[in-house]
Amino acid sequence: MIAVTFAALFGHWWRNPLQLFTLLAGLALATALWSGVQAINAEARASYDAAAATLGEGQFDRLVRSDGQPIAQDTYIALRRAGWLVSPVIEGRVADARLIGLDPLSAPGGLTPVGLRNIGGLQDFIVTSGRIFAAPDVALDGAVSDPAIAPGTAIADMGTVQKLLDRPNELDALIVGPQQPLGQTSLDQIAPQLSRQVAQGGSDIGQLTDSFHLNLTAFGLLSFAVGIFIVHGAIGLAFEQRRATVRTLRALGVPLRLLVCLIGGELLGLALIAGAIGVGLGYLIAVFLLPDVAATLRGLYGAEVTGTLQLRPIWWATGMAIAVGGTGVAASTALWKLSRMPLLTGAQPRALAVIAGRGVKVQAAVSAGLLCIAFVLALTANGVVTGFVLLGALLIGAALGLPIVLRAVLGFAANCSHGVVSSWFWADTRQQLPGLSLALMALLLAMAANVGVSTMVSSFRLTFVAFLDQRLASELYVTAQSPEQAASLVDFVTPRVDVVLPIMSAQVKIAGRATDVFGARNHATYRDNWTFLTAGKTPWKDVHANVAILINEQLARGADLTVGDVVNVGEQPLTIAGIYGDYGNPIGQAIIAESLFQKLFPDVRPLRFGLRLPRKEVDELVKDLQSEVGFPTSSVINQAGIKAHSLAIFDRTFTVTTALNVLTLSVAGFAILMSLLTLTAMRVPQLAPAWAMGLTRAQLGRLELIRTVMLAVLTGAIALPLGLALAWVLLVVVNVAAFGWRLPMYLFPWDYAQLGVLAILAAGLAALWPALRLARTPPADLLKVFSNER
């Protein structure tokens, strides 16, 4: 009996291959976007972990030579014999890979190749074969591949690397261990040529790049939600159309439980197939996007992410799980309805509308409830989690409310209309609405997401450009390699420029938070170009009177400070005279007067300088710096160059977002197409009377097209405010909670218009094929409606 029943049920798909395709394709696409995004995120995180484990970058202080030359090995021994627990590191390039040499015995914990544990070969590493451990994307003869090593990197023993690079007795840096013994001789007495670079504790790569990954994940989730809408629609439709079969089977004696189990099992099987296809597609998406992501992360954050994708269980397993889970959620209502259905219910063609009518009140209530929650949260949300809950409530509430709003609009239009055709048109649209509502919800979400994210990105870009203008006010930036070179540079340029602005900073704790403190020279450049979020009456005057300090937004938010509060820099109390925006910086930043800075940090000698001079003299000065002072081009950067570079990186960041945007919109368009196609078959009985009364098939087809476009326009009209609300939440709640800085919101009507046109085009294209099919329906089919009253 089971086999027969299953054949009867499954036969539905044979007869309606389009529905099967919709179901599989919708689920596969949704899973593909989700798992693609997760694959990218997982790969990036693995790279950060590998980098931290391999190189301990940012974890430990380092000793390097102030002039950038290699350190003599004797210096290392002398330091160790003076009680300095330091570990030597050497670095070079071999065959396009970064080769690092270290000493496993002295390296601080967590700084050695993981493979050393597995092979059990200190002997191999040090003595016998000089084993090299390399990341999987590195091709070196005889190297052992170890996925835990940072991308593009290979690690070997100090001796091995010195030999390979032909640099005997040379080291590049000494890593200072976290714990040092008592009675250490001071660095000046043993190795005065070395200086200590403090570990940048606040720039853990994972934290910096969180914004980027959050972005991607949000998109993945959104795409998945859109896809689930499609699946829900397809499953719902399949259930409706199998009602007759189910009735017959139950009348023949098949137990209800068996039916439910079989249908559930069938859906599970389809979900697994679709999930597998989706994971495969996701892999392709990730492979396609990963190099862009890697380049973006490298440019923006200096984070090395491998460009090759590895199959990690976390993303394909969660992809499959989410496909099965999503299908389960989508099918649960249908299965529940099935089990409650009276035995002899007819298979009514208007079943969908009928069902929809009953559920409308519930849906309206849920929608209103969610929107209320969203409103309350908008006033009170202050964390990342609550921010995302707010977003979810807003989006779902709006999506659920869409059909109700559309019904109301259509009802109003119907009342206003005169003439038979238009009355029929509005009534028919209202009747079709439940079938299309899921697709329209998907379109709404996709369009709102587009509006919201593009608003956020464009606001960001606009603010960023203004920010760069403010920060990069000098025409030329020069970096010296040593204090002596800096002094000679200053001597050389002073007569030729309007002013030399040294850039000097030290890291301290202000109000318990890690902060970079900068010293600013007293010059109009700052007064003219700096913009504050909030400030006292005379911020710069107070700063240069050595009584005040300026802090960035992150510090103000993080330590809950405002203008007028007093903070301590070391022992010096200073009043906060202004708070300025500092986008993208994860830690605090503060500015004090140059004279005060030199008093508090007498050891810091500036090596970077901003030079103000008339723009037309820039090129000549650059040439002279190279020829007369011997400054390499890499040490001299002009402002236009930096700005262009920064903007390019910024634009790259959002290439990926844009790609995902387009994909999501395509999924929504696909949803509309599928809905229309599946509904076409059921529309025949409703269209036959209209045809019989004189509307030609071509007119009917045209009306179909107009209907879909009109619905898309209405949806778009709702999507716009929804998208703006989304952008507002992202900028004001989520961004602030996640990163500590707030962006002002700007509107871009031209972008919205473009999006509207795109959406209408997508809807139109989606409706074209069904409309054509309708226009070509053989008259005989239309006539059959009247001979078989159904």
Binding site: L85, I126, T128, P181, G183
Partner: protein, 343 residues
């Protein structure tokens, strides 16, 4: 990377399985082996013997502070060779490990260093005598040596003078460790006067006392079944000293050397020296005996040896117990106790 694992690997040739405590029972494979009837030349044998797999310079001291309290001090330098080959610079197969500790009645401070051989970070020279690792040092002639070590929370700076001769253990320095015949070369310099300053978190303490240096080198000092040992160095108030060890394995194996005040020795065979645990303490999550009944009937020694501080656990890559002890019974005095292999 877990430093424990590094050090564990130190004692493991990659090919063979670990045998005996800390792999010291693994076969010698190409390294030199001690032979019977050795002759020693000093001071050159104070230096390193790189043909042998494992070697140490092991100094322990019983001290009294100017506050009247008892203290204990340890300074150890281990050398191990990964392979019996030669190599210079970074490819030298020699690895060095240093342990330093100070024990007070209420506290025990430990620290460890690891260093590569061949580059000058650690090593031993015989003439002039200098044993060092990083800034730790034990150097100078017997008549006037200095001893220094430091950790993150303690340090010491001492001077030593030898007041007696070196002493050979076992059979003229050939010290058998098991019935299977595994042996090492083993001598001591137990007659050091030591004085200096201990730098502790509670403040500096000026101390004086006596120190004992153990020197041992071999390539397979233990039998494969031997899981650890209990080693006693006792200095009695009458000027004589006792070195005794008990190796625990399938059958226990013990040896002892009685050192008279004039520096002459009597070596005792397996079974003559007995040590029985009386009191067990919980140390670092393990049950470790901290009071022993030690008897050497052939020499009329029947004493109770108890730890000054039961928590003298050496929390190093290869962990063990080492601390100063008090001696009561037929003889009174002080000494040091080392216990390994208690898991």
């Amino acid at each position: 990377m877990n430093v424990r694992l590094i050090a564990l690997l130190l004692w493991l040739p990659a090919a063979s399985l670990a045998q005996g405590f800390a792999g010291l029972g693994s076969s010698a494979e190409g390294f030199a082996l001690p032979e019977t009837n050795p002759t020693f030349t000093f001071p050159s044998d104070d230096g390193a013997h790189p043909d042998f797999r494992i070697e140490w310079w092991y100094l322990t001291a019983n001290l009294t502070g100017d506050d009247g309290r008892d203290y204990g001090l340890q300074w150890t330098l281990f050398r191990t060779a990964l392979t019996p080959t030669d190599g210079t610079g970074w490819s030298s197969p020699q690895l060095w490990m240093g342990h330093a500790a100070v024990t007070t009645p209420d506290a025990h401070f430990v620290t460890e260093r690891l260093a590569r051989g061949g580059i000058g970070q650690a090593g031993v020279t015989a003439q002039p005598f200098e044993a060092w690792i990083d800034e730790w040092t034990f150097s100078g002639p017997d008549s006037d040596a200095i001893l220094r070590a430091a950790g993150p929370d303690f340090a010491y700076d001492m001077t030593l003078q030898a007041t007696g001769p070196r002493v050979l253990h076992g059979d003229a320095g050939y010290s058998v460790k098991s019935a299977g015949g595994q042996a090492s070369y083993y001598y001591s310099q137990p007659f050091f006067d030591i004085a200096g300053t201990l730098q502790l978190p509670s403040g500096d303490v000026t101390v004086t006392g006596n120190a004992w240096l153990d020197r041992e080198w071999s390539s397979q000092p233990l039998g494969a079944d031997q899981t650890g040992w209990d080693w006693f160095s006792l200095s009695f108030d009458d000027g004589s000293k006792l070195m005794g060890f008990l190796l625990r394995g399938d059958g226990d194996y013990s040896r002892a050397t009685l050192i008279r005040a004039d520096g002459t020795t009597v070596a005792y065979p397996d079974g003559a020296f007995n040590a029985e645990k009386i009191v067990q303490s919980q140390v670092a999550g393990r049950g470790v005996p901290t009071t022993w009944k030690v008897t050497l009937p052939d020499a009329g020694i029947d004493v109770v040896v108890s730890a000054l501080n039961t928590q003298s656990w050496m929390d190093t890559s290869v962990p063990y117990w080492e601390g100063p002890v008090r001696v009561t019974g037929s003889h009174t005095g002080r000494g040091y106790l080392e216990m390994t292999g208690y898991e």
